[in-house]
């Protein structure tokens, strides 16, 4: 089997290489962005041929894929916003289907079935297609392929941007990465002001936890940077322990926490949906409970 790979970053591309090897793809060609030293990194990870582009531009990558996609079984990417957009456009233009957010694959009756989380995180769909098909692998689900021996054939392509970008701003990344943290504390609308989040930060420092939030806190109120937002369209987390504080438990949010080993929910509303997704349900006011929990931890440390 042969695959053409592209991704918005090398890290994501190397994760997809691992996935492609798992499902038995022998020959991988990849689009990469940058100079020749970049191509060498792909070669060391077993990529046979690299199509090198200077800029990462959605329109340009769609055009390139449409012109070079011949004889491949898969168009493979990571299902971040760039990956899902380019995969959607290129596959539709060429005339094949796309399966996004893939978390695993299995063989059944000679077909490869791709699993993806669907229906707001409540179900797993097993999907298949005759080749070719576009596959978007869920980011940070697979280890990056390690470098070893190997060299890739390089073809440099020149393409021009179609959409003029007036301004580009990097989003600030702050604090420990949520998706790698062992303990995560999530803050919701139960907090009455931005200053009150200190209760969560203090507890986080005691526990060595990372702090995140539900969508409204990050996206609407801007009390936390956007990369702190936990949920289906934000960050998916998989910590040993997740403590949801003052979070009602909208499906958007719950879909991003289901891989947590243990979930604790603190909420004043006994009917908050979060309690249905929690192991330990604490129907208390966070303004009383968080200080009590912090005090209890300190007592144990001291004693």
């Amino acid at each position: 089997m042969r695959a053409l790979l592209f991704a918005s970053s090398d890290e994501l591309a190397f994760e997809v290489i691992t996935f492609l090897r798992n499902i038995g793809v022998e020959e991988i060609h990849s689009i990469a962005f940058g100079d020749k030293s970049k191509a060498a990194e792909y070669g060391k990870r077993g990529v046979k041929k690299v199509f090198l582009l200077r800029d990462m531009d959605e329109d340009a990558v769609v055009d390139v894929i449409s012109s070079i996609f011949k004889g491949y079984d898969y168009l493979a990417t990571a299902s971040d916003k760039f990956g899902r957009t380019v995969a959607a456009r290129a596959s539709q233009r060429i005339g094949f289907g796309a399966i996004m957010d893939v978390i695993s694959a299995e063989r059944r009756d000679g077909k490869v079935l791709f699993s993806r989380v669907t229906l707001g995180g409540k179900a797993i769909a097993l999907e298949y297609s005759d080749p070719p098909v576009a596959i978007g692998v869920k980011p940070r689900k697979f280890e990056q392929a390690k470098p070893s021996e190997g060299e890739a054939e390089v073809e440099e392509l020149s393409v021009s941007r179609k959409t003029k970008v007036l301004e580009r701003r990097e989003k600030k990344i702050s604090g420990a990465a949520l998706d790698k943290a062992r303990i995560v504390i999530g803050c919701g609308m139960g907090f009455k002001s931005k200053e009150d989040l200190k209760l969560a930060y203090d507890l986080a420092e005691l526990m060595g936890a990372a702090v995140g939030s539900s969508r409204p806190l990050a996206a609407d109120l801007k009390w936390m940077p956007e990369e702190r937002w936990i949920g289906m369209s934000g960050v998916s987390i998989k910590p040993d322990l997740y403590i949801a504080v003052g979070i009602s438990g909208q499906q958007q949010h719950v879909a991003g926490i289901t891989d947590s080993k243990v979930i604790v929910a603190v909420n004043t509303d006994p009917n908050a949906p979060i309690f249905k997704s929690a192991d330990y349900c604490i129907n208390q006011d966070l303004y009383e409970f968080l200080p009590a929990l912090a005090a209890a931890i300190r007592r144990r440390r001291g004693g």
Binding site: K81, A88, Q92, I282, N283
Partner: protein, 249 residues
């Protein structure tokens, strides 16, 4: 579809019992269309494809949802209803929507960034390809500068401003605006607006979808749901004991 009402139990996923609902983000898409119409004039057509059965129950629900959206300030609605679209993939749904949109010669198509049930973010870009329109996804802010429309796209790790150049398909996030709530008069008025229903053969589509679903299985989310009661410090102590026992502290 409203997945909050979706029932999942041991025997399987009961898609039939869920309530059809417009994804929240679709209200943001309609709000943006209405704001642009108020500013620049024009006509708003609403296009919806029904992708879940059973037909008899769903068709009433989708009509109701369409009326609610039209009441915000739309002009007409087109519903695509065909059993061949039930559980169809985004390849076919996009073909159907694009074929219907093409009949109306619209130069700006606004979609939500993803549907709440699937969130694959595939329909917008695929419709753009079918129409050979530009695609600008994940728009979180729309502003005006010298009568040009500037779109801010919110991507992972960065955001960027681009100028809207027609014809185009754009997808919006929930942050783009606060959808208005239509008045009772508007809701009543929406019932009089034209609404037509088309099948795939009306649209001249004979093609089939590409991706098939072999199985949908409930996702195991068995949580203990243990209530911890007592005073805040009693509960804190109990919780710490349990977390130590679980080996997560």
């Amino acid at each position: 579809m409203d997945t909050t009402e979706l029932l999942v139990d041991e025997r399987g996923v009961k898609v039939e019992e869920a309530i059809t609902k417009v994804s929240d983000i679709d209200n943001n898409a309609m709000e943006l269309a209405v704001q642009l119409k108020e500013k620049f004039g024009g006509k708003i057509g609403l296009f919806m494809a029904l992708t879940w059965g059973p037909m008899q129950m769903r068709i009433k629900e989708v009509q109701k949802a369409a009326k609610k959206l039209l009441a915000m300030g739309g002009d007409e609605a087109t519903l695509i209803v065909d059993e061949k679209l039930f559980s169809a993939d985004s390849f076919l749904v996009a073909k159907a929507l694009a074929a219907a949109i093409r009949k109306g010669s619209f130069d700006l198509v606004i979609a939500g960034e993803g549907s709440i049930d699937n969130f694959s973010s595939q329909i917008g870009p695929k419709v753009a390809e079918e129409l050979s329109y530009k695609f600008i996804g994940f728009v979180s802010r729309v502003s005006l500068k010298d009568n040009n429309i500037i779109l801010t796209r919110s991507m992972e790790g960065y955001e960027e401003d681009v100028m809207l150049d027609l014809p185009a398909v754009i997808s919006v996030t929930q942050e783009v605006n606060k959808p208005r709530i239509p008045s009772l008069t508007q809701v009543l008025g929406a019932s009089k607006l034209p609404m037509k229903t088309l099948s795939l053969s009306d649209l001249g589509i004979t093609e089939e979808g590409r991706v098939r679903v072999a199985e949908i299985r409930p996702r195991r989310m068995e949580r203990k749901m243990v209530k911890l009661e007592g005073s805040p410090s009693e509960v804190a102590e109990k919780l710490l004991d349990l977390l130590v026992k679980e080996g997560v502290l």
